[in-house]
């Protein structure tokens, strides 16, 4: 067995209007962040069902980050306000069950914040890498 450092798998849900555009801007500006981050485009952060997050963990993701427009700037006016409540409740519950709180994050990244997107991803990957493999929420049957 190799003793390589664990390469984390990060699923990033990005809203189409701000954060996905922010990720594109990071690309336009050639701002590096680890390839461990895989982005799934959703119309709005409020499209992210907690079930998607649990599904990702189940399938072996080591961290899940949800990115949306800044509060007040939602393309759909209020979508990210719901996200904020939903994720606050969900994350608190995961923490209550003893799941490492560092594996989940919500970050508001605007379409103008390519640098913030890259910095956030770098930071999150570092944070999740430090935790090691996700063992507490994974479903072993889903492993390769």
């Amino acid at each position: 067995m190799q003793v390589n450092e664990h390469k984390p798998l990060i699923v990033a849900f990005c809203c189409n209007w701000c954060s996905y555009a922010g990720a594109d801007l990071a690309g336009n500006n050639r701002l590096n962040y680890p390839a461990d981050v895989k982005i799934i485009r959703v119309p709005c952060s409020c499209r992210v069902n907690p079930m998607f997050i649990l599904r990702a963990f189940q399938r072996g993701a080591d961290g899940v980050i949800i990115c949306g427009c800044h509060p007040g700037d939602c393309h759909y006016t209020s979508g990210n306000y719901y996200t904020r409540r939903r994720m606050a409740a969900l994350f608190s519950m995961l923490d209550f069950l003893g799941i490492e709180k560092e594996r989940t994050r919500v970050e508001w990244v605007s379409a103008a914040e390519g640098a913030k997107f890259a910095a956030t991803m770098n930071d999150f990957v570092e944070q999740v890498t430090a935790l090691g493999e996700n063992k507490r929420l994974e479903d072993l049957r889903c492993k390769r």
């Binding site: 907690p50 079930m51 649990l54 599904r55 189940q58 509060p71 007040g72 209020s78 306000y81 719901y82 904020r84 409540r85 939903r86 994720m87 606050a88 409740a89 969900l90 994350f91 608190s92 519950m93 995961l94 923490d95 209550f96 069950l97 003893g98 799941i99 490492e100 709180k101 989940t104 994050r105 919500v106 507490r136 929420l137 994974e138 479903d139 072993l140 049957r141």
Partner: protein
């Protein structure tokens, strides 16, 4: 030990049936043993006389049954509601789950119901007969000749020990005296778990949830779980029901279930009451309730009809998901 008597309930049922106010009565009926009381629709006086029961085991929350019992029922149904049941009753009305016009609700006082598991733990298995004797139960088992005396208050359901309200929030008519909302200690145990280290919390829940056999009793009893099609029964939902293969499964199931009822759960405690494995499922629901109260202000689901649940609401200055943890660190 209930203050209201079976006869009072029967008299009320009889008279409402007789004067045509209602055409059916949703009540408790005797099961195989003295403690396994089940819900039943009564339409005749005779049936009521023979099978209607009212005792310390009538914990079941009737509100949920109104959804399926009223939808194609012509006429009105009489339902007896304990204070905690009335919260579920309102919550279901908020969600338009049944037609209020089809129900005649009679509020009845409740002094707390008995937890069969606790009773069995006190007397041993094989209970053959239970008699009430004031504040005590006289329990005969097949293994002992002499009935054991068990004080009711020692074997109360957890939800009754931490009863949040003796006040009815909905009824057409009230039998007996109205009680008060109680400043209960129901969040204490949640707080204790919150105070543990993450590893301790994980171990705690690993231990509790690993007993789950996925019988779905919690879901089936839950008055908030009235979906036309439950996600766990839906092959397209991605979380379809299957027997648990490992510890992840239970966590996934219970997190989703608790999340689905978050903001809508009235904390009636049916989930824990019916769990055959005695998993303290109510703690998950109470965690959400406690969080919601702390994050967004006090909210009691079902306290009034038409209120907006916190998770379908927002303010522009809500706390950030990341602050959820800082907040606890600060409190600590």
């Amino acid at each position: 030990m209930q203050t209201i008597t079976k006869q009072q309930l029967l008299d009320k049922a009889d008279s409402l049936l007789a004067n045509g106010t209602v055409t059916a009565v949703l009540g408790w009926s005797k099961g195989e043993f003295g403690y396994d009381v089940t819900p039943k629709m009564f339409t005749t006086k005779e049936d009521l006389e023979q099978n209607f029961v009212w005792n310390d085991f009538c914990g079941v929350n009737f509100s949920k049954y109104l959804v399926s019992k009223t939808d194609r029922f012509e006429g009105k149904i009489l339902v007896f509601l304990k204070p905690c049941d009335t919260y579920s009753f309102n919550q279901l009305l908020t969600e338009h789950r049944f037609d209020r016009e089809k129900v005649y609700a009679v509020g009845i006082p409740c002094e707390g119901m008995v937890d069969v598991s606790k009773l069995k733990a006190a007397t041993g298995d094989g209970i053959s007969e239970i008699k009430e004797d004031g504040d005590n139960l006289l329990v005969t088992t097949i293994y002992e000749d002499e009935p054991a005396t068990v004080p009711c208050r020692d074997v109360l359901l957890e939800r009754c020990i931490n009863c949040k309200s003796k006040k009815h929030v909905a009824y057409d008519e009230l039998l007996g005296d109205e009680g008060e909302i109680i400043d209960s200690a129901r969040f204490d145990e949640v707080a204790q778990i919150e105070a543990m280290t993450p590893d301790e919390r994980f171990a705690f829940w690993q231990n509790e949830l690993s007993r789950c056999i996925r019988c779905n009793a919690c879901r089936d009893a839950c008055p908030a779980c009235t979906c036309e099609k439950c996600v766990f029964d839906n092959p397209n939902s991605g979380v379809e029901n299957k027997a648990p293969a490992n510890s992840f499964e239970e966590k996934m199931f219970h997190i989703i279930r608790a999340y689905h009822v978050a903001g809508r759960c009235t904390d009636c405690g049916e989930c824990s009451r019916v769990c055959p494995q005695n998993i303290p499922l109510h703690l998950l629901n109470r965690k959400f309730i406690k969080d919601i109260n702390e994050f967004y202000g006090e909210y009691q689901a079902g306290a009034e009809v038409g209120s907006r649940a916190p998770l379908v609401d927002y303010t522009t200055d809500d706390l950030e998901p990341g602050e959820v943890f800082d907040r606890r660190d600060m409190d600590a």
